[in-house]
Every structure is written in C-alpha cells, then in structure tokens.
Symmetry: C2
Subunit: 322 residues, 2 copies
C-alpha cells in the first residue's frame, strides 16, 4: 500500500538512502552503562551527586560519542533503560541525545522494547514515533527531523510482540502517519531465549517472523523495503538465512556484533543482495573501546573512532555493497 502522507519519506527509504550515503550498514548502540563510562564522565556514577547532574554527565558522554558516529554511520541506537535509571532527569537526557543525533544527521532507532495493546500501544507510539498529537509535529519539520517536535522523537523503535500481532498495529499506524519505523523482536541471542522463542513446532519465533513480514507488507517504500523491521539475534548462520528468505522485504537489526560475540562473517546471511536490508549493531564494542587492550593509551574517543572504523571495514569485507 502506498504511503498516504506525501510530505515525508517512509523510514525504510530514509534509512536505505542514509546507508547508501555512508557506504556501510553499521549501527552504533548508545548503551551508557554507568560502570563503564570514561573517567571524565564519572559524575554519572557518583551516588552523592544530584540526579540531574548525573544524567547530564551521561548525556555529555553520548553527545560526544555521537561525534564519533556522525558521518561514519547512518544511525545510532540509544538504549532507554540506561536513561530511565535517572527518572525524569534521564528522560530529559534522552531527549537531548536524540536531538543531538538528529542535529548530526543521524537516524535514531530507540531501543525501548515497548509493547502493549490498543490505546496503550497507541500512546507508546505517540511517545516515540509521532508526538503527543500524532504525525510527528508540523509538516515542515518532519522530513529531516532537524527541527520542531520531530527532533526529539525517534525515527524507529524496537517493539515487543508478545501480546499478539494486533499489538503491533497501533505502532504501524504511527509509522504510516509519521514516516517512522519499528523493529519487532523476532529472535534474541541470549542463552536462555530458546525456552519461549523456540517453543512449539514450528518454533514460536518463526510464527512471529511470519506475522511481522505480513504486517510489514502494508508499509513497503520505494526502496522495496518495509518500515516494519525485525530484531534478529540469530545464533546460527543457517537460521539467519532461513529468516532472511522468509522475510524478504523486512529490514533486519542484527545485534551482538563485537562485545557480545558475533563476528562479521556470522551476520552476512542477514543481508539482501547488494549489502542492503540490514543494520549490524555494536554497542559496548564501540562506546567502551577504550577498555580493550588494543586501544590502550588512546583517549576514549579516539579508541571509539578506531573501533568503529575497524568494524566498518570488517562488515564491508563480508557484505560487499553493490
């Protein structure tokens, strides 16, 4: 089905163009674990400091990390949990970071894993994807997200589908109205994910995959890709290839590159021909690269730059872009 709002591009198309522009499919996760922040942001973990100052130090770090990501990658993925730790001050820090990423020309994928039904799901969709009154604010501000209410909203968020395929629909409606996107959790790579996600025959995650692919057909853009994506933490290349075949128009978000173990080779099967249709995320591997032996002695920011440049080379080596 075609988009009804002609004044803004669908998320899928904006992302596809941004990836083509930077020439790689890497995604920088913004997961500010307090314990791992470089010393200059230690205020964030000082239990005796006012909460507002702690949240500010956390945002200061991420705004600086956004410098590293800008013009290197297409998008960043802030993890809301680490902001929520600081309550209302953390929510203000979130908005500052999302705004800074947009200012730097980056798309923002909010890793919020929300999920609920009916009017509650609609409220979550408004919170992150289209603003309190829908549709992402005024039309002039929507297209690039650089100004107006759109600036502090996400371009896409992660969504938890446990409540059923219908629970995804309010998010999809928001995506259509505001030119935004979602990545639905289909498969996670944590050790004990199997008990629920592989339950049944066929396993539950295949059923979720089919529902996500089906729902996404409503929102396929000019790029041929849908604005309804999937988080696929496949543990084996064969499984990843099976899901890729099953969801031919679905953008994948592939977590776990670097610190969580997967290498570039393991993720190749998640891509469409030409190196399109997937993002590879690394969080700690980039943001806390300064802790790795190979970058010892470097300023944390230089360590992050080198780690990200290395990741880009590795991913591009196994996923040739054409």
């Amino acid at each position: 089905m075609a988009h009804t709002s002609s004044d803004l591009l669908p998320f899928a198309d904006r992302l596809d163009a941004a990836v083509a522009r930077v020439g790689n499919a890497c995604l920088v996760g913004l997961d500010p674990h307090l314990d791992a922040l470089p010393e200059e942001f230690a205020r964030a973990r000082d239990a005796s400091a006012p909460r507002s100052e702690r949240a500010r130090a956390l945002a200061d770090f991420l705004v600086s990390l956004i410098d590293v990501a800008a013009n290197r990658v297409a998008a960043v993925k802030p993890q809301s949990a680490f902001f929520e730790v600081f309550g209302a001050d953390g929510a203000a820090a979130w908005e500052r970071v999302v705004g800074a990423a947009h200012d730097a020309g980056l798309l923002v994928i909010g890793d919020v894993k929300r999920g609920d039904i009916d009017s509650t799901a609609r409220a979550y969709a408004r919170a992150f994807l289209e603003g309190p009154d829908g549709q992402g604010g005024d039309a002039t501000s929507r297209a690039d997200g650089r100004s107006g209410p759109r600036r502090m909203l996400c371009d896409a968020i992660t969504v938890n589908p446990l409540l059923g395929p219908g629970s995804i629909q309010p998010f999809i409606e928001a995506c259509r109205a505001a030119g935004t996107g979602i990545y639905v959790l289909v498969r996670t790579s944590n050790k004990d994910s199997a008990l629920f996600q592989e339950h049944g025959d066929p396993p539950l995650f295949e059923r979720i995959a089919d529902a996500v692919a089906s729902a996404g057909r409503e929102l396929i853009g000019q790029s041929g890709l849908s604005s309804v994506g999937a988080v696929i933490g496949a543990t084996q290349p064969r499984e990843l290839a099976m899901l890729r075949a099953r969801m031919p128009a679905t953008p994948f978000l592939l977590p776990g590159y670097g610190a969580q173990g997967a290498g570039a080779k393991e993720i190749a099967a998640g891509f469409l021909p030409g190196g399109r249709g997937a993002l590879v995320n690394s969080s700690r591997g980039i943001s806390f690269a300064y802790k790795q032996p190979e970058y010892r002695g470097l300023h944390w920011k230089d360590a992050s730059k080198r780690a990200l440049d290395a990741m880009i080379r590795e991913v591009n080596a196994v996923v040739p872009r054409t």
Copy 2:
C-alpha cells in the same frame, strides 16, 4: 530462600497486609487517556499548550483520582505509556503521581511492561524498583516508601518475559534487594493474544506460567506469597482456575474488570482461599466513571467514588474474605 535484607518487608507481605487492612482486593488503574479526561483537565489535550503544562494537567487529574483510591484500596497501577507521551515532562508527572500515591498510603504497581536482558534489565529494575544505586535508597526510607528516594520508585512493576526466564532474573534480584515485586505477563486477554501465547502444545503461556512460578519460589515471604506475581488476563474461568492451581504461591494481577468486559464472577477462580493472592484491576471503569450513564450529572470524582465502591462490593460478594 529467605530475604537477605531484614530492614524491609517483601512486596508480597506488604501487599497482603495492605489488602487485609482495606478489606478488598481491588486495584485502581491510572490510565490517563487524554481524550477521556474530565473537562477541568482539558489543558492536557490542548496541542497549543506547552508540553509541561499538559503533563501537569494530566498529573493533577491523577493526584485527584488518588484521593478517591486512598483508604478504599491497597494499591494503584499507573500506566507509563500515557505519561511517556509527554516525554521528559511526562516522566516528571509520573514521579509526582507515584510520590502522591505513596503519600496517600497506597502501594504503586507501575504498569511499564519492560523486558530486556542482562545489564539492560538490571537498569530497568533500578529505574523502577531500587533506584540508580540499588536497594531503594537509604534504609530508613525503604520500609514505607513515604520519604527519600524510595518515594518515587514503584513497589512493583509489570515485566514482559519474551526474552526468556533469565531476563526476569535481574528484576528478581532487585526485588530481593529492595523489598519490591514484579508481575510477569503470562496471559493477556486481548482478542489476538492466542496466536503467540497459545502457540505450541502445551501452549506457550503454560510454559511461561511454570517459569514464573518456579522463579518466584526464591522470593516467598511470611505471607506464603511470592513477590514474583503474574498478569493473568484469562478469558475463561476454567483456564484461570488451571493457572491458579499451577502457581499456588504467585500473586495474580487480573486486568479487565469493568470497561474491558469481565465481571466479578469471572475473576473468582483467580483467588486463593480466603480471598487472598490476587488483585482485580479496573482502570477506565473507575477513572472515567463520569462517562457512564448511571453516574450522569455527578462530578467526575463523585462518579469515580461510587464506581469504586460498587466494584469493591461486587468483588467482595464473589470473593468472600476470611
């Protein structure tokens, strides 16, 4: 396993005592749908008003609704999505509402449906259940939640288990440290929940139920109840009775009374003998009672009081307390 922190009571015991004190198992959901707010809080839906003022109007309504709940019921359940609509201003409103509920002697069950793994789940647990530095703030403030950092934290939250039983563990650790609780989504009552939740044989929700009951054995209090509860939107009394038998020490949160359709009779099977071990939630049926024909002409607050008193009578009639 016994609680390790002797200076605070487990959530399960605090809730059990509070329910005994008020003499009913009703829970008031705080779901401030903008469209349904009484006219005096219309500022909340005024798209031209500053976001901070809109969020304040929303909180004003809920603080007033807390007056209705205070001394009538044991707990309230704010729904975070409706706050998140207003971003950082909504987060400030959330903290004001949670604090006001604690001031009024109510327990707070945050309906946030968070779920993630490892350090991210730990961050969510800290955000809502134990504060940024763990354990709910200073010891003196923890027991009653009336002062200190504990005041703005929840006594329990809802948790989404899709990522696996291990994803619940960081929340359970927070519950043990801070005397707080969780309600894990086991079964939801929305129309299309079946596709995923009934997938497999036995259906997925039974497997989740077993995992929740098993995890909860770690946190059984003096009351004989666990601080690891379950959200059970059972659609049939037989299913509810089956789950009750399967999870003998698990507190249930039964949504959907009133506006969503279920009556008092349908929920009786969710209780343990003596009318213990479950809370029955009504949200719109109480907060927006003024919209119901039978309460026409009343001030919204009087309508809510009458609706809540009627619900208490109905629930107590089918779930005799001994």
